[in-house]
């Protein structure tokens, strides 16, 4: 059993995080690449079935492997590798160690078979990812703190739910649940916080763009996808998830369409993409769940690719505002090229990974005759051109070049990472069977029919036409779009300040009132206690004596009456 722990992929990544603290130069780079690869290998070494342990009398299943876990485990390990390859030149040891711990947390969640183990890894992810955000520099401290608060809230909801679930059902094992008790609703709410569901979705667009050029790659991969993974495990077919997911899908597009900062735009695109998956979990048929699994795997890679591209632009130009960028295809050809591939993938263009995966979810909605969700999913698909699918590459790499930006493609390791991710996007799109064999349910779906391909190309082409015709209305403009976080960043602060002023006054009055009463009472009781010394000095000791007497009297009274 112990060897299974030591040889688990999560342990390999934790060891990697430790190794980074003690290595420098070449050895550090080697460790940075070797440990994620080791984790990737170890994913296939995880014994199938489950391993149990005991904690406080609860049966734990620290490691449980099945097809779904293997798929997510492999994709996460791969993404961790791409992330560390991309970050090879990053000097912040704290960020990279945290990134490995964060990845370890994600793999821990993937292989967790019980709620307690899951929660432990869940919190490790929350802490490690907060550190990654905070490594974005001084400006990131505020977002990092808010990020931590939101995730702590999510963690509290989840923990309360888990405690209730265990108390009610007596079982710690993660199984498919129907949200019919308050405990399960709490679990669902806790998971949805991490998925970026309303009303707390602003944490993604608040925190992710604040991280460093390398940190956001890791952030974009793990938190939301692990949430989707656990939702698949615990709440498949829960109808409300369809509507939550669709809301996220539309929100992401609308906010991305207005956004000026490329990394914040990608954050909105992430919410939109996760929304599609959450809706898929809500549909809950085998086809839909297959689609969610496949789309998660695909999205991990193409989102990471797009975030790497944005990271490269940030690192090479120091800018992230589209109003200050443009025409970078000239000076950063490889970044532009791989960026286009990422864009095609997120827009689900045929031959890319997005096409072979997203279409399964939409098809599942169609087969279930869910007209509303189907239309919404089609709208969200078409809307991809408004964010990373067209608007971002258009404005950053083509469009009118701004006053010439001196820039070049990033260093080799970053270029390799982007190229590798781009190749993966195509490989999965051209040979979908490689992805399909890893899915949890048997696949009968055929993505490449003339009808599917034509529908998707028409959809995107005419959406692009609409965007082209109205492009002037969506010119990037400086500024931000207010979100629900206004409630806690502005309104909350104002209310707290008001409340503070109010209560401070009331509190002072109350305290002095009580003190006055207590003082009079104790003067009455202890007449020998003269007015020697000021009130302030005599007060604490005198009051203590008063309370002591009071307690003694109260106790005697209760005892005598009882």
């Amino acid at each position: 059993m112990t060897t299974s722990f030591l040889l688990s992929p999560a342990a390999a990544l934790l060891a990697g995080a430790l190794a980074l603290l003690f290595t420098r130069g070449i050895a550090r780079k080697a460790a940075l690449l070797a440990f994620p690869l080791l984790a990737l290998v170890l994913v296939w070494q995880v014994p199938s079935g489950s391993i149990s342990a005991n904690y406080l009398g609860y049966a734990l299943i620290p490691i449980r492997a099945d097809a779904l876990a293997l798929l997510f485990g492999a994709v996460f390990a791969l993404a961790a590798f791409l992330g560390t390859l991309f970050a090879l030149d990053r000097s912040s040891t704290l960020e990279l160690s945290s990134a490995l711990v964060y990845a370890a947390g994600a793999l821990g969640v993937v292989f967790a078979g019980d709620w307690i183990t899951l929660f432990a890894w869940w919190e490790i992810m929350a802490i490690a990812s907060t550190l990654i955000v905070a490594c974005g520099g001084e400006k990131a401290y505020g977002p990092a703190f808010r990020y931590a608060l939101v995730h702590f809230l999510g963690g509290v909801l989840l923990m309360a739910g888990i405690a209730g679930e265990i108390a009610m059902s007596g079982s710690t094992t993660i199984t498919s649940l129907k949200p019919d008790t308050w405990a399960r609703w709490l679990i669902l709410a806790g998971l949805l916080v991490n998925a970026g569901a309303p009303p707390l979705w602003a944490w993604i667009s608040d925190a992710y763009p604040a991280s460093s050029w390398s940190g956001m790659v890791f952030l974009s991969v793990f938190t939301t996808k692990t949430a989707v993974y656990v939702l698949m495990r615990a709440f498949p077919g829960v109808e409300c998830l369809v509507w939550v997911g669709l809301a996220m899908g539309v929100y992401g597009i609308v906010y991305a369409a207005l956004e000026n900062d490329i990394r914040r735009l990608l954050a909105f695109a992430i919410v939109s993409q996760v929304g599609i998956k959450v809706a898929g979990v809500g549909i809950g048929t085998p086809l839909a769940l297959n689609g969610v699994a496949a789309h998660s795997a695909a999205a991990v890679i193409y989102t990471a690719l797009l975030v790497m591209v944005a990271g490269s632009v940030l690192r090479q130009t120091g800018k992230t505002r589209m109003s200050e960028l443009g025409g970078l295809a000239d000076s950063m050809p490889l970044t532009a090229f791989t960026g286009m591939i990422g864009a095609l993938s997120i827009a689900a263009f045929p031959l890319t990974s997005g096409f072979v995966s997203k279409s399964m979810i939409i098809e599942a909605a169609a087969r279930e005759h869910l007209a509303g969700p189907w239309i919404a999913l089609m709208v969200i698909s078409a809307g991809a051109v408004l964010h990373a699918g067209l608007r971002l590459p258009w404005l950053v790499f083509f469009g009118s070049p701004r006053p010439r930006i001196a820039a070049a493609d990033p260093p080799q390791s970053m270029r390799i990472a982007m190229a590798l991710a781009a190749v993966l996007c195509f490989v999965a799109g051209i040979v979908p069977d490689g992805l399909y064999v890893m899915l949890p349910h048997a696949v009968t779906y055929v993505p490449y029919t003339a009808s599917h391909v034509l529908v998707q190309v028409q959809l995107l082409a005419f959406a692009a036409l609409a965007f082209y015709l109205m492009r002037d209305w969506l010119k990037p403009q400086a500024g931000i779009t207010l979100d629900f976080d206004w409630l806690y960043r502005r309104l909350g602060a104002r209310l707290a300040r008001g409340f503070d002023d109010l209560t401070a006054g009331a509190w002072t009055r109350l305290v002095s009132g009580i003190n006055g009463k207590a003082a009079r009472l104790h003067d009455l009781l202890l007449t020998h206690h003269g007015p020697a010394g000021t009130f302030g000095r005599a007060w604490p000791t005198g009051t203590m004596a008063f309370w002591t007497t009071f307690l003694l009297g109260a106790f005697l009274l209760i005892a005598a009456m009882g």
Binding site: Y55, L56, I116, F119, A120, E123, A134, E138, Y141, G142, A144, F145, A148, L149, F152, V156, M159, A160, A163, A167, R537, P540, T541, T543, M544, A545, W547, T548, L551, L552, A554, F555, L556, I558, A559, A560, G562
Partner: protein, 497 residues
Amino acid sequence: MSALTAQLAGLQVVVPLLGAILSAFIRRGTLAWAWAALVTATTPVIAFALLFQVWTRGTISYHLGGWPPPIGIEYRIDLLNAFVLVLVSLVSTIMMPYARRSVAYEIDGDKQAWFYTMYLLCLTGLLGITITGDAFNAFVFLEISSLSSYVLIAMGRDRRALVASYQYLIVGTIGATFYVIGVGLLYLVTGSLNFADIAARLGEAAGAYPRPVLAGLAFLFVGISLKLALFPLHVWLPNAYAYAPSFATAFLAATATKVAIYLLLRIAFSVYGVALDFGSLHLSTVLYPLSIAAMFIASLLAVYERNLKRMLAYSSVAQIGYITLGIAIANQAGLTGAVVHLFNHALIKGGLFLALGAIVYRTGTIKLDDLGGVGRTMPLTFAAFVIAGLSLMGVPGTAGFISKYYLVVGALDAGKWPVAFLIVASSLIALVYIGRAIEVAYFRPVAEAVAHAKDPPLMMLVPILILALASVYFGIDTELSAGVASRVAEALIGGLK
């Protein structure tokens, strides 16, 4: 060897007592520290040996001077006080390496030797209260520990330390007086001072003199409650902890209140509980509201506190509330929670106060507003603070979680689900005050005072890290803490009438 083994119980108190006397003859601070460290280090060895004996062979009865009880003084060691002995001696020993630099920094050279003398006396008193089976002997040790702790507190650099110490002295004296009145009443009705002997005669005495027996309990309870800083008798504690030297704060926070709680457990369960129906004592009736008030009000006071030492002091009052809540619940799980939190909180608070002491050592300040960015300039120290802080909140996987877990289970077993809810809800307040410290330490720009600070020397750092890691370790391996605590609770519950 066997002769020595037989005298272990006596040595547990005699060694630090003689050590304290000899220490008074030492002039130089470093030498006094070395001596105090050596003496302290022997105590956990004895304590573990005693725990082992009790664990394998059951309760030990040691007759001081060979006089049999109830005439002579008996040291009576069962699992409960063996556990507390281990706790007190072990935590003190872990802290000792830390003392040298911290004390040298905060206390004038010519007074350091006195400081260590007082510290050893206080340790003697605490171990004595814990080990003795005699009510009046416990009073003597209570006075020894109290008097020496007044001096320890008064030695703080801040002038307000004197006022704080004076306040504590007055209040502590009231507490001791109440305690001795209670013991006197018990002696009047039972004719004995030995706990076990009193317990045996109390049932009969209560039939004849019901009122004095209950009055005795009331005096004992209130007297001890003052010492353990039960809300609202806690007012002495924040100032005393805030202005005492850092090492004294950490030492007293980790041990003194815990020993007072032990005494309460002893009297409530081993004396009164054995003789009378526990419900008829109305201890729970009194403890429930006060404990819950402590958990919330003291925690809220901690939230509004800008001085980190006072913040943690208020937090201590709140945490004591959890322990007394476990006593109020008074079932297997609840008592396990109380006893295990006794242990865990000693580790956690010890670690937190030591970390603050290190921050004082490097920056000279303890005001939250002056400590922006301290997490980045003193990374290991503050990492330990965060770990212990997480444990304080009761984050799963930490020692604090184990305590709260048992308390919640105990409350649920007792059918008091609102209490269970309040335990969880009040833990969230800890999140606020610890979170605020974390926010300042990591997310604020580096303040002037901390700009050139760095982690303290290893001698100080290692004890901090040990306590921080222990507060995680005992969240995972619960054999020594919760395992023993559960046996203790079983024995206490089993002894009830």
